[in-house]
């Protein structure tokens, strides 16, 4: 980003479900990224756009919260950011997004942030929904009462967004109303903090007592707060909250009119969605439809990509002179990249549907109907969101577990989420399933391939629940479990927001996975193209006297691969993986996919790509024809393929997941435990499958 020095830095905040993320997407378009803020553990979503006066505006999107007294990790992230101890962030303007149909509750957080002393702008979002509920708001009057500029936006269309961009650039009012009156007995603490942070308002100093991290960075020991605060913590927050509601009601009495006419279909939809029987059937039906369409819809673009890669590869081979560089490019990088490229459509379609479930408000219904069941497994209704999103990618899902208040439930959710079959497993399953059935084979009215893939997802889900149960018995219960959440009104998704989200997820995936895959492919190419000392020469010498035919070349290539560094590595592993039915070539892939499972496909492609061959047969077909050298049967037979699929269902194989778990749990202990239990489960289950079937 250029001239960040002169950028206007704004922060988006508000209650969960206020439509904040939609506004973020509409403001920034594709100019967004999730980045690690150096020195802190905050995962910020930032983006940027150009203001009308040409300035660059950097937007930070904070997790939704109900107050500055955090009960969960994501709420803590939001409020610590706003407390902004020692100015680690620049905050020029806080854009507060409120759900107009429930202003009373939304304004609670608004008044708290106003008392922190930040210049604010109030967005009355979902104005159309409020109107349909018979609520009318006098925005001008509200602006006078609070001393902040106000912008009205709709939930359904993009009305108000360009106006919002204009108002963001305007200077805030000089006088902004405050709401806090300091209780006598906390004065000493407040002035103590203010002594250290001169510009802190009394409320900002007061709220620090609820934020251990902020206290620590101020030099306080969070354990030794003044006794009058420790003893009355919940009393203090309770009376502060009630006083704020009083001020809010006094403001709203002149600003808001409620005609009492409610045109709301949410209740009618929920009669079915939350029904003790139909609710579950519908949920399963929706999941089933989503996955069938993921596989069905993605089939077409996947074929184009596969053919395109073959074409590009042939084109490059004929165009470029024969050299080591050309070989690296075609047999290493291209072969590896085609592995990721080909499953981008499936990932995007999956993210698209998950985005719709989230945007329409259905996801929180799933939490509601599953809470009771989840409790039996040591989880929480809120765990369902990480678990389902885990089917797309474990990394954001593990971070999504932050909104689970209970630490034990959050930890169990984090530990089992990677067992849900994520999109990186799709290409692996995809390749392997193609050995079992023809692509167009159907069972009844359903696509057999789709059904097989679904059962892999089911296996992952059952695994996740069983391991959750195991952890429930191992881990000690420390605090009360809570489940209080809002079920937002159903609304049609803002398509632009869903599409932008899908695109940026696909983009993220392609680039982060792409980097690893290109690197691994190049290393692998070297490892398979070279061997220790004179082994390669010996093989060539052995066959010089024989006439060079295609089959002889194939034999030479096979022996060379076996003699290469990659081959030696695979051979070394072979005894350990033999119980699962794997040979040394699969062994190579297991090693390379240790850091990222999707590398499996790329590795297979690199191993099975044959130099100097005009044949453009796809890798898949080549693998299919692979014959076991001893038995003479097909190597990729049913037991081996199923065993491999089970292995990839349970094994961790994702360095990014390891990293994110380390960060979220604050140490190496849990990611190591996770890596060990998952690898162990994978080994055991695969061996079991192979031994039973063969």
């Amino acid at each position: 980003m250029n001239n960040t020095e002169n950028s206007w830095r704004i922060v988006l905040t508000g209650n969960p479900n206020c439509g904040k993320s939609s506004i973020f997407n509409l403001l920034t378009g594709l100019n967004q990224k999730i980045s690690n803020h150096p020195g802190t553990t905050i995962e910020k979503k930032t983006g940027s756009f150009k203001l009308s006066d040409g300035r660059n505006c950097v937007v930070t999107d904070l997790p939704g919260t109900y107050s500055l007294y955090p009960k969960s990790e994501d709420e803590a992230v939001a409020s610590e950011y706003l407390l902004n101890i020692k100015h680690s962030n620049t905050i020029d303007l806080v854009v507060f997004v409120a759900d107009s149909s429930n202003l009373e509750r939304n304004l609670l957080l608004f008044t708290q942030i106003a008392d922190l002393g930040h210049p604010m702008l109030l967005v009355l979002n979902m104005a159309d929904i409020a109107q349909s509920k018979g609520i009318s708001i006098d925005a001008e009057k509200l602006s006078e009462e609070t001393g902040v500029l106000i912008c009205t936006t709709n939930a359904l269309n993009n009305k108000g967004i360009s106006k919002l961009k204009e108002i963001i650039a305007k200077p805030a009012f000089a006088f902004q109303r405050t709401y806090f009156s300091i209780p006598e007995n906390v004065m000493p603490f407040v002035s103590n903090v203010q002594h250290m942070q001169k510009e802190f308002t009394p409320y900002r100093a007061f709220v620090c007592a609820w934020h251990p991290k902020s206290l620590t960075s101020l030099g306080f020991n969070p354990e030794s707060l003044p006794i009058e605060i420790v003893k009355q913590k919940s009393k203090l927050t309770e009376s502060d909250t009630l006083k704020r509601y009083e001020s809010i009601n006094q403001i709203l009495s002149t600003v808001q009119k409620n005609s009492g006419i409610i045109k709301n279909i949410t209740h009618k939809i929920d009669q079915v969605m939350l029904h003790p029987i139909y609710g579950y059937l519908l949920f399963l039906g929706i999941l089933f439809l989503v996955f069938q369409s993921v596989f069905f819809l993605a089939e077409f673009p996947m074929n184009w990509i596969e053919n395109g890669v073959v074409f590009a590869n042939n084109f490059l081979t004929t165009l470029l002179p024969e050299s080591i560089f050309t070989s690296i490019l075609t047999e290493g990088v291209m072969a590896g990249l085609s592995g990721v490229l080909v499953f981008v459509p499936q990932i995007m379609i999956l993210f698209f549907f998950l985005g719709i479930m989230e945007e329409t408000g259905y996801m929180s219904r799933v939490s509601y109907i599953t809470d009771k069941l989840m409790r039996q497994f040591g989880l929480n209704g809120k765990s369902v969101i990480p678990l389902i999103s885990g089917m797309a990618c474990a990394i954001p899902s593990i971070m999504a577990a932050r909104n689970i208040e209970n630490q034990r439930e959050r930890l169990i959710t984090i530990l089992v989420t990677p067992l849900m079959s994520c999109s990186a497993r799709l290409p692996v399953y995809n390749l392997l399933v193609s050995f079992l059935v023809e692509p167009n084979h159907t069972t009844g009215i359903f696509n057999t391939k789709g059904l097989l893939m679904m059962s892999m997802y089911l296996l992952g889900t059952i695994g996740a629940l069983l391991f959750a149960l195991l952890f429930k018995f191992i881990l000690k219960k420390k605090e009360k479990s809570i489940f209080i959440m809002e079920l937002p009104d159903y609304k049609l998704p803002r398509w632009k927001s869903v599409l932008l989200n899908t695109l940026s997820k696909g983009n993220d995936f392609l680039f982060s996975a792409g980097k690893v895959i290109v690197l691994v492919s190049i290393i692998l190419w070297f490892m398979k193209s070279f061997g220790p000392s004179d082994r390669f020469e010996k093989i060539e010498a052995k066959y010089t006297s024989i006439k060079q035919t295609d089959s002889i070349t194939a034999i030479i290539n096979r022996e060379k691969l076996e003699a290469s560094y990659a081959g030696i590595m695979g051979k070394f592993l072979e005894p350990a993986i033999a119980p699962m039915g794997f040979d040394w070539k699969i062994g190579i892939s297991l090693v390379t996919s240790f850091a990222a499972r999707e590398v499996f496909v790329g590795t297979m492609a690199t191993i099975y790509s044959v130099p100097n061959e005009d044949d453009s047969r796809k890798i898949r077909e080549r693998m299919q024809n692979e014959i076991h050298p001893i038995t003479g049967k097909k190597l990729y037979n049913i037991p081996v393929v199923l065993s491999l699929m089970v292995f990839y269902t349970f094994a961790m194989q994702c360095i990014s997941t390891f990293a994110v778990v380390k960060k979220e749990t604050g140490g190496l202990k849990w990611p190591v435990i996770q890596l060990l239990y998952m690898t162990f489960a994978a080994y055991l289950c695969s061996t079991f499958v192979y031994q039973i079937l063969s």
């Binding site: 009960k71 309770e238 209740h267 929920d270 809470d371 489940f483 209080i484 809002e486 079920l487």
Partner: protein, 73 residues
């Protein structure tokens, strides 16, 4: 009586929230003394339940609804 004793379709007004550690959380969700509350749905064995207050629907567990004292209206 307690909120947890209401059936779907019944409404009441909130009298008080009786919990040392959860009352702020409940207040923050907009469940305030004096407000009218309507039980919308109850799941298996009535747990969890979904209530409507101030036009918003809040899901909570039976154990949490037991902390909320209400007055049938």
């Amino acid at each position: 009586m307690k909120l947890s004793e209401l059936k779907p379709g019944q409404s009441a007004s909130v009298v008080s929230v009786n919990s040392a550690d959860l009352s702020v959380k409940i207040l923050e969700m907009g469940i305030l003394p004096g407000k009218k509350i309507l039980v919308r749905h109850r799941s298996f064995f009535g747990d969890p339940l979904a209530i409507e207050i101030q036009g918003s629907v809040i899901a909570l567990r039976k154990s949490e609804a037991e902390l909320i004292e209400v007055h049938l209206s």
